[in-house]
Amino acid sequence: MSTGRTLLQVNGATKRFGGLVAVSGMTFDVKEHEVMGIIGPNGSGKTTMMNLISGELRVTSGSIAMQGRQLSQLPAHKVSRLGVARTFQLVRILPGLSVIENVIAGGAFGHSRRWGDDALHFAQTLLDRLGLADHMYQPVGALTYIDQKRLELARALASEPQVLLLDEWLAGLNPTELQIGIDLISDLRKEGRTIILVEHVMDAIRSLCDRCVVMNSGKKIAEGKPSEVLSDPEVIRAYLGDE
């Protein structure tokens, strides 16, 4: 799948919070139609890396560029308009809006800028695809956890992003839901979407990712195919410690 051109380039991205270096000199490329995993133990800086790409945080040094355009100095709303959509580690839906309004919210301002009937139809199509068609006009409080996660994904897809960032989208799902979730992302992958995902679920990483970047203490310690990096001695040491 990873035959496309380079879409996103992270070059020496570093983020300091006072004395703490959360992300240190991260460099990697993401190609078009590729699913790139960012993995690593807790506290290794994965979510901070996602926040740097999405514009939630600014890099202290280094750069992040998409198709030659610098993202690293732009505020989040501009990054979103250029075609980067995300879900959040702790699911964030808009509680005061109906299910369908939540999806329209994703498309109305960002990359695709759909509005009116166009936005409504597109949102219906997305909800249909993600299996939420029955909940379309319900308040979001009525949704189960996995449905909230689906909704957040639908909102991200509504902007027709060039790059989709999934921050532990599969976390907290039970085994049945997990399979549904993996299948869903697998479908997105087959559609040729470019996805960066932070994940702890190893099965998901093995079956979904074309390539992985492994982080530990803010640094990249390995990069390559999931099967390769997961058997890398340094990666095993990072996860499990020394023998």
Binding site: G55, P75, A76, H77, A85, R92, A108, F109, S159
Partner: protein, 308 residues
């Protein structure tokens, strides 16, 4: 996202027609209550356009209202300008002031924003008083026009119509939708591509504009204006309470709060003036404990129960 409802438009036209004939049927005292009521309808509705969806509770209405009244007074009294010119200038000045205040405060959230707007409103009041007392000679200013209460009432009614049309447009626009998303979750709002700072400043500016316009129009009613009186912080609180009692989730919500509140407020202030602050406090408690979404929210909840 909603469709145009013809019954709603017909109802709005009937209400407008009824409101328009009030000065023809009401006498002195009742008309004066009506002027007060329509003034608060304009203030509370325009306040709710911003604070309703975003939940940014602004206590700066008094400052913008004061700018309106004060500029009309000083322009007419000290610089011999016409009422119309000053009434046109005042809202623009207030909008600029609101933009500056907005840029400074709208990064704050929750209670910090509330306190900051209150503090800024007080600062504006003291600044204007100080300038007036030290540099412009007289303490008070005269606003002498040929307007009757009925004229003021109709002008304010016209302002209300503009606010309602603007509010209706807003609720169907991307900007209005953006404000609702901001009110729900500002982090999400940014990540779906909303320029949150710009959206908030634009609406805060609009609220300031209308508050000053109302302040300018109502100025002739008082004839004699002092900065301390026209920049009253009490007005800011009244506007907030009335809007919240009515409900800010619907455009017509504040209207539902303003009318009964103005009447009760009028009765209490004229008969038991010592208890007016107590009443204000009780109204606050009522909102917090019993009707967090206002009367309109309560009615809609009952409506849903009946249908269920």
């Amino acid at each position: 996202m909603k469709q145009v409802s013809w019954s709603g438009i017909v109802l709005a036209i009937i209400l407008f027609a009824l409101a328009a004939i009030v000065p023809l049927v009401a006498n002195g005292y009742h008309l004066s209550v009506a002027v007060t009521a329509i003034m608060y309808v304009a203030l509370a509705t325009s306040w709710a356009l911003f604070s309703g969806p975003t939940h940014y509770i602004s206590l700066a209405s008094g400052a913008f209202f004061g700018v309106g009244g004060y500029l009309v007074a000083t322009g007419m009294s000290d610089y011999d300008q016409s009422f119309w010119l000053m009434a046109a200038i005042a809202p623009v000045v207030a909008a600029i002031l609101a933009t500056l205040i907005g840029l400074a405060t709208l990064r704050l959230s929750g209670v910090y924003f509330v306190i900051f707007t209150l503090g800024l409103a007080e600062m504006v009041r003291n600044l204007v008083s100080w300038i007036q007392n030290n540099f412009l000679g007289s303490r008070g200013l005269y606003v002498l026009t040929d307007f009757t209460e009925a004229h003021i009432y109709w002008m304010l009614l016209a302002v209300c119509v503009v606010i309602y049309i603007f509010g209706w447009w807003l609720s169907h626009s991307r900007l209005g939708f953006a404000l609702r998303i901001i009110g729900n979750d500002e982090a999400v709002a940014k990540h779906v591509g909303i320029n949150t700072a710009l959206s908030k400043v634009v609406l805060f500016m609009t609220t300031g504009f209308f508050a000053a316009l109302v302040g300018a129009i109502i100025a002739p009613r008082y004839s004699y204006i002092e900065p301390n009186q026209v920049f009253s912080p009490e007005l800011s609180f009244l506007v907030v309470i009335m809007a919240l009692i009515g409900g800010t989730n619907r455009l017509w919500g504040p209207l539902v709060g303003v009318i009964p509140f103005t009447i009760i407020w009028e009765i209490i202030s004229s008969n038991f003036s010592n208890f007016s602050t107590l009443f204000l406090g009780l109204a606050f408690l009522l909102i917090v404990y019993v009707i967090p979404n206002g009367f309109v929210g309560l009615l809609e909840k009952w409506g849903r129960r009946l249908r269920a």
